[in-house]
Symmetry: none
Subunit: 421 residues, 2 copies
């Protein structure tokens, strides 16, 4: 049994009303791509019986796999499980194990289970139950016999996942994906080449010959905020011999991009910085002004961060810069908080105060308005201090407040990478 | 001519592959809601002639307005304008004004116009051209005569917008929206009721009588991480008298939820905390352990945060807790860093160190693994200290590392709200 096409249906009036950003479709689309399952449509539809029924029917008519998210909650609004079961002609039956998991979930939180949560244990007969380790709603995977004249034995697979992204992604990864992997017809080998310090179009131009000549592997550039990435994907059909077509492409890219490549793989920039700190046995702290804790907070996303990260000072007000970090009044008065000198004194002060091997500081103008013509929005100074001394860089970032802060965070991690590699 | 239903079609293989997050659908969905145009479906489809043609036909068969984004670029991949024109039975004709705008766009950037950009000036005959002030691709609005047996004069409106969000949103707002406003048949008045400290199902149960009885206004619950919200929406048809049906519903909700309601409107919890600090003329700082700067960083998302926020200490390592915040060795050794007493000493130490009116501390176990049976993942202590003394709360949060930290951040803002309101 193999799956040749898929579509994703996200159910929820909050998506239709534009209250929620649809991150589930992106997550699932990436997963399908990595499974080698072509996906041709993504659909959002509200919590409305008729429209949802019609949509599931329609999707099942053209795709072998239909993944649905949302509408598995305990309220009367939440109808996805029932509608999908109706399409497939299956009854909902009480699943004791799921019910026990839901009860246990509330017990762990020291809360009483509301009566209506019992509904979430009503699942299609014969379905494979997908456990939810992050919430109450179990998911389900089941088949819908949907014959066509060409294929009288045609079977469509339904995968139902909860709407909250943290529940959905965990359930898909742990429960649904392993089953789908066994059904896929061909596989894709993908390498991600991550760059920092070069824009998307400049990067694409530098390897335009490779991009123009692509067949297999395919090379797709894409930009996220402040970074740039190429996906290099080789398709291997089942039964076909597996030759390595990716390495020659990577070699050319390494030669052309040099130090701009910070990772060939999956590690984000902060993980690269973390791994270098761990490898070189160095501790780090941050002194943050415009980023205001974002560097530290993102760094601590890495489990085990405590091995290298001691703490930080968020010196938003100038008094904190002087009193805690020892930035001189002279610098603040004459050069300002957003200056090369202030960045340097912040890093050196933090390193001393927190007693780490390395300190990185960030001070800049995130907006919405600039200080002056000489200090516009996007001007950021970063410093890195260690036992050998202090380096300061000046960067000019484009975009709004949130983007300026985000890209400044990346620069902080990149400073660590450049210093240690 | 009035529009009773709409759907949104976003065109692009990068969306289907999960490389790009679909923010256009959310933007357009919000706009449609505010125009009082019900939108029943959002669809993503790739740059493929047959599938796109079929999709536009299908959408036009059931909705009066079909908004398409993406695929208006200069490359051969970009086919949306041609396909939509084919569905509507219109020829593409050269539009001189659009061509001049494209030429002018390149001139302003001191660049030569590549030859293939001429294609973007080929637009459906008789279409209303939508100007692009932010890029090269013009949009278009045109009609498709699509009779049904019930309505032999049925006309469907197509709106075609470029894919890049900054071009799309500007073009929609300036060019398309004014035209649609004149066509709309009714409007919606919506209030959002935001709650903290109660789960979605418990909240829905508490007003199940209102939810069961809903017709107009409608009441829809939904949960985001750690929070819960109800959307109360009243529909007012054109010509109908505008009575306030929402206030009576809100009054019942206020009575049932009491202090759990932190906002009726659009302000996130942190903004409510910020506004209270500003109003009461209080300054604040944070001492963060497991959240590691996330509280500070999110607080600073609010422009003008510097009026009340001085700075923070991220005390990730225990040495920072003792050396900077003055947490006693006794507490750390005997009760541990995740304890009621440590939270209290962190808040009091930070308040003293940073000289603010109020200090909030957070210490907890974000995971992935717990410390012991008595200190499982999700156990978090928060303290708030001011001149009247210090309060500590203990919370048990579910979910993974990222969710625990996120919800802990919300608790920190909620502590400020409860103390000041």
């Amino acid at each position: 049994m193999s799956i040749k096409s898929a579509e994703i249906i996200c159910v929820g009036t909050e998506l239709l009303m534009g209250q929620t950003l649809n991150t589930n479709s992106r997550f699932l689309a990436r997963e399908l791509a990595s499974l080698g399952i072509p996906s041709y449509r993504q659909i959002v539809v509200g919590d409305n019986y008729d429209r949802l029924y019609e949509q599931i029917k329609e999707s099942a008519g053209r795709s072998d796999l239909v993944i649905l998210t949302g509408g598995l909650g305990p309220t009367t609004d939440d109808i996805t499980m029932g509608v999908a079961a109706d399409v497939a002609g299956k009854e909902l039956v009480f699943d004791e194990e799921s019910f026990n998991n839901i009860t246990e979930y509330f017990r762990r939180l020291f809360r009483n289970m509301p009566k209506n949560n019992r509904k979430q244990a009503m699942l299609p007969e014969g379905a494979t139950i997908l456990k939810n380790n992050n919430g109450t709603a179990p998911g389900a995977m089941f088949e819908y016999s949907c014959p066509t004249t060409e294929d009288p034995d045609r079977v469509v697979h339904f995968v139902l996942l909860p709407g909250p992204p943290s529940e959905m992604s965990l359930m898909f990864t742990n429960e649904a994906r392993p089953i789908l992997e066994k059904m896929s017809d061909s596989k894709f080998i993908t390498k991600f080449v991550h760059l920092f310090g070069i824009g998307e179009s400049a990067a694409a131009e530098r390897i335009s010959d490779l991009i123009d000549a692509q067949t297999n592997p395919t090379i797709a550039p894409y930009a996220s905020e402040g970074e740039c990435m190429f996906r290099v994907t080789q398709r291997v059909d089942n039964g076909e011999e597996e030759k390595d077509l990716i390495t020659p492409i990577l070699d050319v890219m390494k030669e052309r991009f040099g130090q701009c490549i910070y990772e060939i793989g999956d590690r984000p920039l902060k993980q690269v910085a973390y791994d270098l700190l761990l490898e070189k046995n160095k501790t780090v702290c941050f002194a943050e002004s415009c980023t205001a804790g974002m560097v530290s907070s993102e760094f601590v996303d890495i489990p085990g961060a405590s091995q290298v990260f001691m703490g930080s000072v968020v010196s938003y007000g100038n008094k904190v810069k002087t009193n805690l970090l020892g930035v001189s009044d002279d610098v603040l008065e004459n050069l300002g908080a957003v200056s090369r000198e202030c960045a340097q004194e912040m890093a050196e002060g933090a390193r001393k105060l927190l007693g780490t091997d390395i300190a990185v500081s960030i001070t800049g103008i995130a907006g919405p308005t600039g200080e002056s013509a000489a200090k516009p929005v996007g001007l950021v100074y970063l410093a890195i201090a260690d036992e050998k001394g202090t380096d300061v860089i000046e960067v000019h970032l484009s975009g709004n407040r949130s983007r300026v802060r985000h890209v400044a965070v990346l620069h902080a991690f990149n400073l660590i990478r450049m210093r240690l590699s």
